[in-house]
């Protein structure tokens, strides 16, 4: 007997509810979603047994067998067979199966039982089975498999206590040799499946026509024309809503920050500290925080789509188009999560089996418009695009935003096509994917997801954006121009001189002014910093001119920039890889510097090209 904490893992088919059970037992907040491949890394947490002993639990990526087909499944195999680097062997496993789809989930369960580690089977989603009209005999299943079986409903916490009790009985202290699983040929697969089929039939009473609701919905949502139109409509409504639903709270935050700045401006003595607080923190960081409501509206849509099971349908509808550029529809899910942020998107590519398909998807993920671009887009759109209606329920601002997202998507498809014919050339990847049933999104999950996103956003504002803005503020404030000089303090400062002499000559041909040149450097850390940097630049420039300083950033931009410059600025952010973390995660996931270097190079080249084209075209049209 070792004194170390016992360790158990949750294993099973994708989408069987492993993470939901893990969360219920450990109080963790692993991401849950109704599509296969949500969890792509191992994640551990703690639970306590009834006698108070602690227990380490590990949530694993879903897998269909112990022969891995994709990088996330390799993790599962390594942990199950005890080959995971720097990790103890498992003392027991909880095999999670979907009660309403036993025939599909039992083959992997049978394979896992043969490994020899003690197991308990969680017969999860009993509620769904009941809804479908199935009755299951857990005792019979336990007898057939020769291991304990506990019925559970992970999302309602049903069966959790019984599951803990069953886990406790597994630690008998004797060592368990691991039987190394062999790779399966068609014959072994067939045998496992027919055994699974026999057991499923023996333990299931009543087999009604399957999934009536899901099939009825799919008749509409997967309709070749109507379904595609609905997909576009959902995306369109999402971008309209980003502006329409967030206007009131965003205005309230804006007014609140404006008042706070004015109050502190009056209350504090006129020194560098006041400038740092008012021009740096409030004008800079505040300029980004204003966009919290917009980010939340965007996430509301993404979370609901993830929870309902619609994502795999979207992947189905998009696959035909994606196949034309050499990608698989499986790449659609990581790309869609890149609308939130490219980092989880790039990590989600671990569920893509084909290495070249995966690499291509990683390289184009930064072209999906992540939520960090939203503040940049939103401030420019609000300042330059009139809030006019261009049709029933269609606002011009939302339309422009939709166009920007679309530009990113079209750009990504073109780039994928080029990559698949050059650096990631290879046979076109297939698409083999399971489509889950539809589920109602659970309010608690969506609320929790929103809260987590709000927290991440505010934490970014308080750390990376705050620090970049502070450093920029310092570089912008010193050295001060000599008294009586009519050079603006910004142009005289260190940052101003660097930007004017090094960056401006490069970006002026594509329509950028010196202030943009200045904002682009700190925005390498994160895109939102472009907005906070502009806020700080203009606040410092306004100096003591109170009337000028009191104006929000948007109206200032509208007064200072031409429309051509504003459009050029938008075009730049469709492509420019201004995010250190994305570059770092690409390096980690591709295990080389070659791919992130290629990614940064091609994105900057495209950004420069398209910004220039936008600017020249707009100027030619008389918008300069």
């Amino acid at each position: 007997m070792t004194s170390a904490m016992p360790m158990i893992a949750f294993v099973g088919n994708p989408n069987s509810g492993k993470s939901s059970l893990f969360n219920a037992l450990t109080g963790a907040r692993q991401k849950i979603g109704n599509y296969p491949g949500v969890t792509v890394e191992r994640k551990s947490g703690r639970a306590v047994l009834s006698d108070g002993r602690p227990l380490e639990m590990v949530d694993l990526p879903g897998s269909y067998s112990l022969t891995p087909s994709s990088p996330d499944e390799e993790v599962t195999r390594a942990v199950v067979t005890g080959h995971q680097q720097g990790e103890r062997r498992l003392d027991a496993m909880v095999i999670v199966v979907d009660a309403s789809n036993l025939e599909q989930h039992l083959p992997f369960a049978l394979e896992l039982i043969e490994v020899g580690t003690p197991v308990v089977v969680a017969l999860n989603m009993i509620d769904m089975a009941t809804r479908d009209g199935l009755t299951l005999d857990a005792a019979q299943l336990s007898a057939e498999l020769g291991v304990p079986v506990v019925p559970t409903v992970a999302v309602r916490g049903r069966g959790i206590i019984e599951l803990i009790a069953a886990i406790e009985t597994l630690f008998d202290g004797s060592p368990h040799p691991i039987v190394e699983p062999a790779e399966h040929g068609p014959d072994v697969d067939r045998q496992l499946r027919s055994r699974a089929q026999r057991i499923a039939r023996a333990t299931t009473i009543g087999e009604p026509p399957e999934r009536r609701w899901t099939q009825r919905l799919d008749a509409v949502l997967l309709h070749p024309v109507l379904g595609f139109a609905i997909l576009l409509a959902i995306l369109f409504v999402m971008f309209q809503a980003v502006f329409a639903w967030s206007a009131t709270p965003a205005d309230a935050i804006d007014v609140g920050l404006g008042n706070l700045g004015a109050y502190l401006g009056d209350a504090m003595p006129d020194n560098w500290l006041r400038s740092m607080v008012v021009d740096g923190i409030i004008a800079g960081v505040g300029a980004v925080v204003v966009f919290l409501p917009q980010i939340l509206v965007l996430f509301l849509f993404i979370l609901v789509l993830e929870a309902t099971g619609y994502l795999t349908r979207a992947a189905f509808l998009m696959d035909g188009i994606m196949a034309k550029v050499g990608l698989s529809g499986r790449g659609f899910i990581p790309l869609l999560s890149s609308f939130a942020c490219a980092i989880p998107g790039i990590m989600a590519t671990r569920a893509i089996a084909d290495p070249k398909d995966r690499l291509t998807t990683i390289l184009i993920a930064p072209l999906m418009t992540c939520s960090a671009r939203l503040p940049v887009y939103a401030i420019i759109i609000a300042a330059f695009i009139p809030a006019r209606s261009v049709g029933p329920g269609i606002g011009l601002q939302g339309l422009v935003l939709f166009t920007l997202y679309l530009s990113g998507i079209v750009g990504a498809l073109v780039v994928a096509f080029v990559l698949r014919h050059t650096v990631t050339k290879g046979a076109s990847a297939g698409l083999i994917m399971e489509m889950p049933r539809y589920q109602w999104p659970r309010l608690a999950d969506v609320a929790l997801g929103l809260w987590q996103r709000a927290w991440i956003f505010l934490k970014r504002a308080g750390t990376i954006i705050f620090f970049s803005t502070m450093i920029l503020w310092a570089l912008l404030s010193f050295p001060k121009p000599p008294a009586g000089s009519d050079v603006s303090p910004v142009r005289y400062s260190l940052a101003g001189r660097i930007a004017d002499n090094l960056v401006a000559p490069v970006v002026e041909p594509i329509g950028f002014n010196k202030d943009i040149a200045l904002a682009l450097i700190p925005a390498m850390a994160a895109r939102e910093v472009a907005v906070s940097a502009l806020g700080t630049v203009y606040a410092i420039e306004a100096g003591d001119d109170d009337e000028e300083a009191a104006r929000a950033l948007g109206p200032k931009l509208a007064a200072d920039w031409s429309l051509a410059t504003a459009l050029a600025f938008l075009a730049w952010f469709v492509f420019a890889p201004q995010c250190i973390s994305t570059i770092a995660v690409t390096r980690r996931e591709t295990n080389s510097w070659r791919w992130p270097a290629l990614m940064v190079a091609y994105l900057f080249a495209l950004a420069y090209l398209f910004t220039g084209v936008t600017y020249w075209a707009a100027t030619a049209l008389g918008l300069g």
């Binding site: 309403s100 399966h184 068609p186 899901t214 379904g227 698409l431 399971e434």
Partner: protein, 84 residues
Amino acid sequence: MYSVLANLKPGERGHVAAVDWDRISVPEGRRLRELGLVEGANIELLHRGSLFLKDPLAVRVGRTTIVIRLAHAAAISIAEGSAA
């Protein structure tokens, strides 16, 4: 009557009579089997592609719905009626 999965129309049912595994790569063949697409499985073609593209297919296999591309579906022969 035999046909291949790739030629079925939405709503048509049958069972897998034979699969030409040699036309499918080893990992993809394994994945198909893991999802239940094996000889003898009862299937129904549910949906075909979107817009003007007829690829991929959504196929019901037992109680699961899976998505596969035409290239794979062309290697799967289907016989009418359900398997014994």
